[in-house]
């Protein structure tokens, strides 16, 4: 069936070794506040006592029944409108958002290139490099070994000893990407990491993604830049309102997507 046809068009994929299997995944997350009146303090208290869900809590059914299988050697681009569930799907595959139903299997730990969440803007770049490496699970010795490469790759020069809050947005994006890409992963997920930075850094980071893909097995990439998807990905998945609209070779899916959205 479809598997055979697809395999013919994407040559790098190794069908004998899947890296991620997602089976009918639903993800629901709760959002607090942000809308509607929640009533007075006393009604809120009675809700608390009766253990009712507050009306201020809304549930977002972000991924509603997605199944997919990825294989070693694939780079998969996730495309779709804002709010179509791309980032949520990535976070669920990485095991960071618990699924409401459905199951996810992966080879080793799928990791999200999201080290920036552990960094602190008030601290110097140096300290953040170290902290970020530890946050990704490196040992102190590994972090010291990786330090020079990271600073080199980020290319921010003497600013490394300044607090990160003094960095331009391009500079902190470079440093974050450099820290996150310092570790090799079995399954790597990148969420809009390449949106910032100048042309030279973009070229460098695309090369780094290709390297990571060769080393690691599978790369998932969320991007609104269709050019980046066709340049770096072999396969693309088009998500629409939490469902897979189309799944296939990157250029075909991107073509269909841009035909509909333009």
């Amino acid at each position: 069936m479809a598997v055979a046809e697809q395999a013919a068009t994407t040559v790098e994929r190794d069908l004998s070794s899947p890296t991620v299997v997602v089976d009918d995944l639903h993800v629901i997350y709760r959002v607090l506040g942000g809308g509607g009146a929640t009533g007075s303090g006393s009604t809120a208290l009675s809700r608390l006592v009766r253990r009712q869900r507050s009306p201020g809590v809304r549930e977002v059914h972000a991924v509603r029944g997605v199944s997919l299988t990825s294989y070693r050697g694939e780079a998969i681009g996730l495309i779709g409108r804002n709010g179509s569930g791309k980032s949520t799907l990535l976070r669920a595959i990485a095991g960071l958002l618990p699924p409401a139903s459905g199951r996810i299997f992966s080879e080793g730990q799928a990791s999200l290139l999201g080290v920036h969440a552990a960094l602190m803007n008030d601290l110097s770049g140096e300290r953040n490099v170290y902290l970020g490496c530890l946050a990704m699970g490196m040992t102190p010795a590994e972090a010291r070994d990786a330090y020079d490469d990271i600073v080199d790759f980020a290319g921010i020069g003497e600013f490394i000893s300044f607090p990160m809050r003094t960095y331009s947005s391009g500079m902190s994006a470079r440093l974050r990407f450099a820290i996150a890409a310092a570790r090799s992963h079995n399954v790597l997920m990148i969420d809009e990491a390449l949106a910032t930075g100048d042309a030279e850094f973009r070229r460098k980071s695309e090369q780094r993604i290709k390297d990571l893909r060769d080393k690691s097995g599978t790369v998932f990439l969320v991007s609104h830049s269709l050019g980046v998807v066709t340049a770096t990905c072999s396969r693309a998945i088009w998500l629409d309102k939490g469902l897979i609209r189309m799944d296939g070779p990157a250029d075909e899916v991107v073509a269909a997507y841009s035909a509909e959205t333009s």
Binding site: A2, S67, A94, P98, R127, L134, L226, I244, D247, G248
Partner: protein, 308 residues
């Protein structure tokens, strides 16, 4: 790219049919397990969990000291505030309770008595508070990085422990200045604070799960903590009114974990006070029970943190 979009053979009506399904019609789960894939987002068994946590010890330490530095990064005096904050706190309480309310009835060295109470209780109070927001206040980190979630409450308790170290220096200096001699009993400070740290860690872990599930607890907490402060004998000796209360309340006041640790520290540092033996039993009991129960309670919900 502007050519006619090719109709892919796999354009589905239903999302679940979209992916290349595993061959031979076997179930996705069997297919995955046959290829050695692991289920994602499951809670590891207890032992591996503890060893993962141990593997994160450098991160915990690094996170805690980075947080401590970042807290005062915008202040001109920087880290000196770590010293000034407890001192100013003590000064306010002394003004209020020592000078205005004259709560020092029956206590000879009231300055030292008060300082010890404030600093030791603050350690527990702040650990509970920062534990409550450890998960709910760091959701972006939980949704971006992998680590045993207990790392966060532990790191926040460590931040408070580092703050306590500074406070203890101030506390000992004040105790000396008020004329107390240095005795061997001062060494008891180490086991007492160790026990208190165990208690605080467990309380922080338990509150982290509560705070992650019920964010509103954050608003209630200041009132609960203040009530706890007033019944813990920080400003006055609880014995003063203990004999006027029913037996059950007396026991509750004596066993109150907010009070036992500061009472032990006072007993170790101040000549005039001696601590009955059962207070040690309470201190050990609370430390062991709360640490184990808190850790277990937190661990049981490990895979759900992140849902928000």
């Amino acid at each position: 790219m502007d050519s006619v979009a090719p109709v892919s053979p796999v354009v589905p009506d239903e999302g679940r049919d979209a992916a290349p399904t595993p061959p031979d019609g076997e179930s996705a789960a069997d297919f995955a397990i046959r290829h050695g894939l692991q289920p994602v987002a499951t809670r590891p068994p207890l032992r591996p969990y503890i060893s993962q946590l141990w593997g994160r010890r450098s991160f915990i330490v690094s996170f805690a000291s980075s947080r401590n530095i970042a807290t005062f990064a915008h202040a001109r005096l920087g880290q000196i505030w770590q010293l000034l904050t407890p001192l100013l706190n003590a000064a306010v309480y002394y003004l209020l309770f020592g000078l205005l309310l004259q709560a020092n009835r029956g206590v000879e060295n009231y300055e030292a008595f008060l300082i010890i109470g404030v600093f030791v209780f603050t350690y527990t109070q702040r650990s509970v508070h920062s534990g409550t927001v450890a998960i709910s206040g760091n959701l972006n980190m939980i949704r971006a990085l992998h680590f045993p979630r207990a790392t966060l409450p532990l790191a926040f308790t460590l931040i408070e422990l580092q703050q306590l170290m500074v406070s203890v220096m101030v506390m000992l200096a004040i105790v000396l200045v008020t004329g107390e001699p240095v005795t061997w009993a001062w060494l008891l400070l180490l086991p007492i604070l160790l026990l208190q740290t165990m208690f605080n860690t467990g309380a922080s872990l338990a509150m982290a799960r509560v705070g992650a599930r019920y964010p509103d607890i954050r608003q209630l907490l200041p009132f609960m903590l203040r009530a706890w402060l007033y019944v813990s004998g920080v400003f006055y000796s609880v014995d003063q009114f203990a004999d006027r209360t029913p037996r059950l309340v007396q026991v509750a006041l004596e066993a109150n974990p907010g009070g036992v640790y500061l009472e032990l520290v006072r007993g170790a540092l101040l000549r005039e006070l001696s601590v009955p033996g059962q207070v040690w039993a309470y201190a050990v009991g609370w430390a062991v029970v709360v640490l184990l129960a808190g850790f277990w309670y937190f661990y049981r919900a490990e895979e759900t943190y992140g849902r928000g």
